[in-house]
C-alpha cells in the first residue's frame, strides 16, 4: 500500500497501480476514456489529467495524466485544481469536436460513457464552428453495428480486439482527426469475441446489432442476474427484457469467471428466446389446451408407470422436480452412455479433491498450459480468451524485471513483443489458438491420450519451469481415455485442471447420479420392463434426437405410448409429444447450474413469461395438492428455496448450492432488489391498450428480486445484482462502483459456490493402460466431431444473428485422404448414413475425418466414406 494525497487529504492506495486506477478505487469521479481495467494505460485521451505536486510546499504543481503516473508513496494530487478542471473540460470538447451529438437516435444513449464523462467535466457548449469529419460505415456482420462518425479516437476498440483478444481484422487506419477504426473492407468480424466491442467502445461506434432490431433504452429494460446457458463455463450475464421479449445480453462482471468479457455465442445466443419456434402454449396431440387442462393431463399421465428423462441444459431444480415426480430409479440423465461415462469420470476427478479445478480467472493467470483434445475457441469459447491472456504471464515477468509497471500497457507490449509463455495444443484438427501455441500436435483421440501419458521431455520441462500450470481437457471428443490421461498428466505436472463440459448443467446433472439415456432406451426395449408396462415418458428440455440415433429414439418413443415433453423450442422430440408443455427458458426462470468449473450459480427470472409458459420445475410440481393414493411422490412445495431444500435433503452432495445466492426472504433494509432501473418508464402505460388499470407488478415468491424499479438502493450481494448502474455512471463502466478495488472482485465477493476444492487427498489416479496407437484403416476413417462456436450448441443455433453465422454441415478430410476417395472440396460424401459436402482440412491426421453439424451420431466412430 502507498499513502497518496488527494486534495490535501491522505488515502491508502494500492501502490502497484496508477493514479487513475487508485483514484477510481477510492471512489473519486475522475473521467477517462482510453484506460480500461482489463486493458491498462496508454495515455491517449489525456482525459484523466490531474495536478501533481512535488511536496507540501509545492503550490504550483504540474498537470500529469493520472493513468500514466504511478500511485507511489507520498504522491500528491488535486483533481479539483482549476487548471486540471479546465484542461479536462477542453479535452472533452476536443473529443467531441467531430462527434455528431446524435444522442437521441444513438443506441448508446442513456448508457454512454462519453455522455457520462462529458457531464462529469462540465463541457456543455460547443464552440467548434467548422465542418465535422464524416465517415462511411462498414457492414461488420450481424452482431456489431458500426457508426464511425461517433468515434472519439480513444483506441480502446483495437486495443481490446487486437491486443487483448488476438483479432486481426479490426484496425486503425489513417491519422490526425480522421483515424478510422474498422476492417480493410466490409465483412463479418472474425473474432469470436467481437461483441465485447459493444461494451468496450465508450460511445456508440460499436453497438449491439441484435438490440437494434428490437431497440430499448437501458433505462426501460428489466434485468436479472443470470448465467449463460450456451456452454458449460457459466459466464455471468445480465439479460434484459421489455414487452415480454428478451432484448439483449450484456456482461455481468464476475472476477472469478468471465471478468469483463463474454464470447459471441454467450452474448447473442439469447435470441432463441424470441424465436418463432418457441412453444408458447400447452398442446395435446397438437391441439392447444389450457394450462389447467395441461396440468390435469400431466397428473393423469404421471399417475401411470412413468419414466423421466432429464437434461444437462435444464436447471438442477427442474431435473430434481422430475426425479422427484417419477422416482429416483426411473429418472435418467438424458445423455448418451458415452457422455455419461465421460462426465462421471470428470466429476469423480473433481470430487476426489486430488486436482484443483481452475476457474476462468485461474486459466487467465496460468503461465503454462497444455490443451488435450479440446478445440477451445469452439467448445468453451470464453476460455480461449483466458488462454490468450495466460500466454502473456511468463513474458510479463520479464517486463517486471525491466521495472515496467504492468499497467503501462504500451510499454509492456513493446518490451514483450510477440513473446509468449508455453502453450501446447494436441487436437485432431487445427484450432484458432494454434497461432499463439508454442507447439501443436495433430493427433487422433486415442493418440492424444497416449501423448498425454508420455509427454515429450521438452513439454515436461517447460511445464515444470512454470509456476501456475494448467491442463485443459474435456468431453468434446468423447474420449474417456483423454480425460483420464489429462488427470494423470495434471497430477504428475502438479497442474490445475480445467475440464470443458458441453452444457450449462452437464456437471450438475452428472452429480445427480442418474443412469444414461441409453439405459432408458434399453429399459423400454427390454421385455421385462415392457411387461412392467412403462407407459409414459416425461422428457425435460431435451431433444433426444440430438442424443441418440434416430431409430432407437423412434423405437423408444413409439413403445412408451405417452410422451410428455417440456421444452422451449419446437424440435423433433417435441413433434412426438402427446402432451407438450411450454417450458420457461433461462430468462424466464430461476434455477441453479453447476458449471464445468464446479461452480454452482443461481440464475433468476428476468421477466414472467407470457401466457402459459412456466418453469419446468413448476410444471412438474403443480401447486394444487394431490389426491391421496396418487402415484406421485410428494405434495407441492412453497417456492424455489423450498424445492432446493428438498433437493439437498434428497441429495446432500448439493448442500453447498443453497449458498449460491441469498434466499427469497432476503431483504435490504426491508426492501427487495429492483429488476428495473430508477428511470424505468411507462410501467403504468405499457399495456394500456389492453387495460387502462395500473397493473400490479407480478409477485416473486422465489427470489428477493422485484419486478419493479422500487426497492433497495444499496449494492446487493453479487449474485443478486441485476444490472450495473451508479449515480453519474450510466454505462457498463459503472462496474467500477461495485468493486472495492476497480478491476478486482465485486464488493462482498464473487457470485457462485465452488462445489469442489483440492484437498490434497484422493488416491493416485489410475489412468489405466494407454489405448493402442491409432492405426489408419484401408477403407474406413475414424470420424471425429468438429465443433463450432455458432451452430454446435442446440439453443443458440436458433438465435437469428448466430444462425446467419453457423456453418453448414461438412465432412473434413486432409488432401491425401480426399485424393484416396478421388474427391475434391465440395463433393458430397456419405458416411454414417449422412450426406455432407467435403471440406479439405490439411490439419487432420491421416485416416481421421471430421464431421460438423450432424448431432445425434455417436462419434467418434469408424465408417466407410462413399463419394456420391
Amino acid at each position: 500500500m502507498a499513502n497518496i494525497w488527494v486534495e490535501g487529504k491522505t488515502y491508502a492506495a494500492n501502490g502497484e497501480q496508477n493514479l487513475l486506477h487508485a483514484c477510481l478505487s477510492l471512489g473519486f469521479d475522475l473521467p477517462y476514456f482510453c484506460w480500461h481495467p482489463a486493458l491498462g494505460s496508454v495515455g491517449a485521451c489525456r482525459q484523466c489529467a490531474v495536478k501533481q505536486f512535488k511536496d507540501e510546499k509545492d503550490t504550483h504543481g504540474k498537470l500529469v495524466m493520472a493513468c500514466m503516473t504511478p500511485a507511489s508513496e507520498g504522491a500528491r494530487i488535486s483533481i479539483a485544481d482549476p487548471e486540471a478542471v479546465e484542461f479536462r473540460k477542453a479535452i472533452v470538447e476536443g473529443l467531441m469536436q467531430n462527434h455528431p451529438h446524435d444522442c437521441p437516435v444513438c443506441d448508446e444513449g442513456g448508457e454512454c460513457h462519453l455522455q457520462d464523462m462529458t457531464l462529469m467535466t462540465g463541457h456543455d457548449y460547443r464552440a467548434y464552428r467548422f465542418e465535422k469529419r464524416t465517415f462511411r460505415n462498414q457492414y461488420l456482420g450481424p452482431l456489431v453495428n458500426h457508426e464511425m462518425n461517433r468515434c472519439i479516437q480513444c483506441y480502446r476498440c483495437v486495443r481490446y480486439y487486437s491486443d487483448y483478444a488476438g483479432g486481426k481484422d479490426l484496425n486503425a487506419f489513417a491519422m490526425r482527426d480522421i483515424v478510422y477504426f474498422g476492417r480493410d473492407r466490409d465483412g463479418v468480424l472474425e473474432s469470436e469475441f467481437s461483441g465485447n466491442l459493444v461494451e468496450i467502445c465508450p460511445t456508440g461506434v460499436f453497438t449491439d446489432a441484435t438490440l437494434k432490431r428490437h431497440y430499448t433504452r437501458k433505462w426501460d429494460l428489466q434485468f436479472a442476474p443470470s448465467v449463460c446457458a450456451h456452454c458449460g463455463l457459466g459466464c455471468n450475464i445480465s439479460p434484459a427484457e421489455r414487452y415480454d421479449s428478451l432484448r439483449r445480453v450484456v456482461n455481468r462482471f464476475n472476477y472469478e469467471v468471465n471478468g469483463y468479457f463474454l464470447c459471441d455465442r454467450g452474448r447473442y445466443g439469447y435470441e432463441f428466446v424470441n424465436s418463432p419456434q418457441r412453444i408458447t402454449a400447452p398442446t395435446r396431440r397438437g391441439e392447444s389446451i389450457s394450462t389447467a387442462e395441461a396440468e390435469s393431463q400431466l397428473e393423469l399421465l404421471a399417475n401411470g408407470r412413468v419414466l423421466g428423462i432429464g437434461s444437462p441444459r435444464a436447471s438442477l431444480e427442474s431435473n430434481f422436480a422430475l426425479r422427484r415426480l417419477v422416482g429416483a430409479e426411473r429418472f435418467f440423465a438424458g445423455i448418451s452412455q458415452t457422455e455419461h461415462a465421460l462426465l462421471a469420470r470428470m466429476r469423480d476427478i473433481l470430487q476426489s479433491g486430488r486436482l484443483r479445478s481452475a476457474s476462468l480467472r485461474d486459466v487467465e493467470r496460468s503461465d503454462a498450459v497444455l490443451i488435450l483434445g479440446e478445440d477451445v475457441p469452439n467448445t468453451a469459447p470464453r476460455m480461449a480468451l483466458s488462454v490468450r491472456q495466460a500466454v502473456r504471464q511468463q513474458p510479463l515477468e520479464a517486463a517486471e524485471a525491466l521495472k515496467i509497471p504492468l499497467w503501462l500497457d504500451q510499454g509492456v507490449r513493446h518490451a514483450l513483443q510477440d513473446r509468449r509463455g508455453p502453450l501446447y495444443i494436441a487436437t485432431p484438427v487445427a484450432t484458432r489458438l494454434d497461432e499463439i501455441a508454442t507447439e501443436t500436435f495433430r493427433l487422433a483421440p486415442d493418440d492424444i491420450a497416449r501423448f498425454a501419458l508420455d509427454l515429450p521431455e521438452r513439454i515436461v520441462q517447460a511445464m515444470h519451469g512454470a509456476k501456475r500450470r494448467l491442463v485443459i481437457a474435456g468431453s468434446s471428443l468423447a474420449g474417456e481415455s483423454i480425460v483420464r490421461a489429462a488427470a494423470r498428466a495434471a497430477e504428475s505436472l502438479h497442474a490445475d485442471i480445467a475440464f470443458i463440459m458441453p452444457e450449462p448443467n452437464s456437471l450438475g446433472l452428472s452429480m445427480m447420479g442418474a443412469d444414461s439415456l441409453d439405459a432408458a432406451l434399453e429399459a423400454v426395449g427390454d421385455d421385462a420392463v415392457r411387461n412392467d408396462a412403462i407407459d409414459t415418458v416425461i422428457v425435460l428440455e431435451n431433444d433426444l434426437y440430438r442424443r441418440a440415433p434416430r431409430e432407437r429414439v423412434d423405437r423408444f418413443l413409439g413403445a412408451v405410448g405417452n410422451v410428455i415433453v417440456l421444452d422451449h423450442l419446437a424440435n423433433e422430440t417435441t413433434a412426438k409429444a402427446n402432451l407438450l408443455l411450454p417450458a420457461a427458458t433461462f430468462a424466464e426462470s430461476d434455477g441453479t447450474f453447476i458449471s464445468s468449473e464446479g461452480r454452482a450459480q443461481r440464475f433468476f427470472q428476468v421477466y414472467v413469461a407470457p401466457g402459459a409458459i412456466q418453469e419446468s420445475w413448476r410444471w412438474l410440481d403443480p401447486a394444487e395438492p394431490r389426491p391421496s393414493g396418487s402415484g406421485l411422490q410428494k405434495p407441492g412445495f412453497e417456492n424455489l428455496d423450498d424445492l432446493i431444500g428438498e433437493l439437498i435433503t434428497s441429495m446432500p452432495v448439493f448442500a453447498p448450492i443453497r449458498a449460491a445466492a441469498p434466499p427469497a426472504g432476503f431483504r435490504m433494509n426491508g426492501a427487495r432488489i429492483p429488476r428495473e432501473p430508477d428511470r424505468f418508464s411507462g410501467r403504468t402505460a405499457m399495456f394500456a391498450q389492453i387495460s387502462v388499470h395500473d397493473p400490479a407488478p407480478p409477485e416473486d415468491r422465489d427470489s428477493p428480486l422485484a419486478f419493479s424499479m422500487e426497492g433497495a438502493t444499496k449494492q446487493p450481494p453479487a449474485p443478486l445484482i441485476p444490472f450495473f448502474w451508479a449515480p453519474n455512471w450510466n454505462s457498463i463502466q459503472s462496474v467500477n462502483k461495485f468493486q472495492d478495488e476497480v478491476g478486482e472482485g465485486l464488493r462482498g465477493g464473487s457470485s457462485g459456490v465452488r462445489m469442489f476444492e483440492r484437498n490434497g487427498q484422493g488416491a493416485e489416479r489410475d489412468a489405466g493402460a494407454p489405448p493402442p496407437p491409432f492405426e489408419p484403416r484401408e477403407n474406413e476413417w475414424l470420424i471425429v466431431p468438429i465443433h463450432h462456436i455458432f451452430g454446435s450448441e442446440e439453443l443458440s443455433r436458433h438465435a437469428q444473428a448466430l444462425a446467419e453465422l453457423a456453418p453448414a454441415p461438412f465432412l473434413a478430410l486432409n488432401q491425401d485422404d480426399a485424393a484416396r476417395l478421388h474427391s475434391q472440396a465440395g463433393d458430397v460424401l456419405e458416411a454414417l448414413g449422412v450426406r455432407v459436402p467435403l471440406r479439405i482440412d490439411a490439419s487432420l491426421p491421416r485416416g481421421v475425418a471430421g464431421l460438423l453439424g450432424v448431432p445425434g451420431l455417436p462419434l467418434p466412430a469408424w465408417s466407410e466414406i462413399a463419394r456420391l
Binding site: K62, L63, A127, I404, Q410
Partner: protein
C-alpha cells in the same frame, strides 16, 4: 586539420566519393581507431567531445549511448538506428550529407554501433530521399566489400549488419519512438518513455536512435579527438553545425560553420541578407517546430543553450525567414496545416487541437475570422504544451503558432477586423 569536417569531401555538383576516394581522404580511420578501443572508451571520447544530438533536441550523444547495457549479460540483438527521416519543414541538411558523402554516415553508424555493441544497424531514410537511399545502399555495399561491415569487421571480432530502410513517409516516423514502431511495421504512433529505447527499443531490444548529422560527426571525433572537436565550436556545445536558411533571402543554402555562429552572421554573411525590396520580420531558427525570433534576436549565437535562452530552440539549425511581403498568418496557417496533417491521431490535444487551429487560421486567411479566434488559438497552443500531449509533435506545432501571435498579433487582429488578408490581392 579541416575546420569543416562534415563537408570537406563534398564538391557541389559532383558525384560523391566512392570508397576509394573516401579512404584516401582519411575515411574509415575513425572506425579503425574505434576498433582498437573498447566500446566504453569510444563512448567516453564522444561524451568528452560535447557532441549533442543534431536532430533537434540536443541531447548529449555520448550520454545517450551510455544508457545501453553493455557486456556479456546485455540482451541481443541490439540496434543502432540512424534517423534519416528528415521531414521537418525547412530542413534539408541531412539530405546533403547522405547524397554528397554517404560513406561518412556509414562510418559514423558503424562506430556508433560498435560503441553500443549493436548487432544490426538501420538507416531509416525519408521516403522521398530516393537519391540518398541509392547512394547509401551503394556505399554500404562497398563497405561490406572492404570489410568495414559484416562479420568480423577488419579482423576485430566485431560484426555488424547494416540496412537502408526507406520510410513510408510520415512526419511521425521521424520521431524517435514513432520510428521504432514504423520499423516494426506498426502505426507510427509515438511510444511512452519510460521504458526508454536504450533499454526497450526496436523489437523490445536496446536501441539507439541518432540523427544523420550527429553520426556524421562521430568519425571525426574518433580520428581527431574530442578536444579538437570541442574546439571547433564557438560555444560549449562541441563541433560544427550545418546551418541553413530559406525564405526570401538572397542566397538560400546550407553552410557548415562553427557551433554558436550568431544568427546575424548566418543570415547576412552567408545567406546574403534579404532580397531587394523585402524587409526582415522574423525567423524560425531551427525548422518549423521552433518559436519565431525577431530582429532583436539577430545576435543570438546559434547553439542549443543560447537559442533556448532567447525563447526558441535551435532545432535543426535550418532557419526559415519571414519577410514583410509574406503574411505571418498565412505562414502560420501553412505550418499548422502541415502539423495537423501529420498528427498521428493518438492524443486528443494534438489531433483535435491542431485540426481546430488549422481551420481557424484558414478562416482568418479567407476573411471569416471571428473575434475570440486569437484567444482560441492561444488556448489551444497552451493545451498543446509540453506534458499535456503524448509526444513532442504538438508542443513543436504550438511553438510557431504561439510565437507568431506574440510577435505579429496586430496582423492576426487585422485579419479578423478587416475580414481580409492584406497580403492577398
Amino acid at each position: 586539420m579541416t575546420e569543416t569536417p562534415l563537408t570537406k569531401n563534398i564538391r557541389p555538383g559532383a558525384p560523391p566519393f566512392d570508397i576509394g576516394d573516401y579512404e584516401r581522404a582519411g575515411g574509415y580511420e575513425g572506425l579503425r581507431k574505434a576498433l582498437t578501443m573498447t566500446p566504453q572508451q569510444v563512448i567516453a571520447e564522444v561524451k568528452a567531445s560535447n557532441l549533442r544530438g543534431r536532430g533537434g533536441a540536443g541531447f548529449p550523444t555520448g550520454l545517450k549511448w551510455s544508457f545501453v547495457p553493455l557486456g556479456k549479460d546485455a540482451p541481443h540483438p541490439k540496434y543502432l538506428i540512424c534517423n534519416a527521416d528528415e521531414m521537418e519543414p525547412g530542413t534539408f541538411k541531412d539530405r546533403l550529407l547522405m547524397e554528397a558523402d554517404p560513406h561518412q554516415l556509414v562510418e559514423g553508424v558503424a562506430i556508433a554501433s560498435y560503441a553500443i555493441e549493436a548487432d544490426v544497424a538501420f538507416i531509416f531514410v525519408r521516403g522521398e530521399y530516393i537519391l540518398s537511399g541509392e547512394r547509401l545502399t551503394r556505399a554500404i555495399a562497398e563497405a561490406y566489400e572492404h570489410r568495414y561491415l559484416g562479420r568480423d569487421i577488419l579482423g576485430s571480432g566485431y560484426s555488424l549488419e547494416m540496412y537502408v530502410h526507406m520510410s513510408a513517409g510520415r512526419y511521425m516516423c521521424g520521431d524517435e519512438t514513432g520510428l521504432l514502431n514504423a520499423l516494426e511495421g506498426k502505426r507510427a504512433n509515438p511510444r511512452w518513455k519510460p521504458p526508454f529505447p536504450p533499454v526497450v527499443g526496436l523489437f523490445g531490444k536496446p536501441t539507439i536512435v541518432n540523427n544523420v548529422e550527429t553520426l556524421c560527426c562521430v568519425p571525426h571525433i574518433l580520428s581527431h579527438g574530442a578536444n579538437w572537436f570541442r574546439d571547433l565550436s564557438r560555444t560549449g556545445d562541441g563541433g560544427t553545425k550545418l546551418y541553413g536558411a530559406s525564405g526570401k533571402v538572397k542566397r538560400p543554402g546550407l553552410w557548415e560553420l562553427p557551433m554558436g555562429t550568431p544568427i546575424r552572421e548566418i543570415l547576412y554573411e552567408y545567406a546574403g541578407g534579404m532580397r531587394d525590396g523585402v524587409e526582415f520580420r522574423g525567423l524560425l531558427p531551427g525548422g518549423a517546430s521552433t518559436d519565431f525570433l525577431t530582429i532583436e534576436h539577430l545576435d543570438v549565437p546559434m547553439d542549443f543553450t543560447e537559442v533556448q535562452k532567447a525563447g526558441s530552440r535551435m532545432g535543426t539549425g535550418t532557419m526559415i525567414v519571414l519577410d514583410d511581403k509574406t503574411c505571418p498568418v498565412g505562414m502560420t496557417w501553412n505550418l499548422t496545416q502541415f502539423f495537423a496533417r501529420e498528427s498521428c491521431g493518438w492524443c486528443v490535444p494534438c489531433w483535435s487541437g491542431l485540426a481546430w487551429c488549422e481551420r481557424i487560421l484558414r478562416a482568418m486567411e479567407e476573411g471569416h475570422g471571428e473575434s475570440g479566434d486569437i484567444e482560441k488559438l492561444e488556448f489551444h497552443a497552451k493545451m498543446m504544451g509540453p506534458g499535456n500531449t503524448f509526444c513532442a509533435l504538438a508542443p513543436g506545432a504550438a511553438e510557431p503558432l504561439q510565437s507568431a501571435i506574440k510577435y505579429f498579433r496586430e496582423d492576426f487582429e487585422s485579419h479578423i477586423r478587416d475580414k481580409h488578408c492584406a497580403w492577398r490581392t
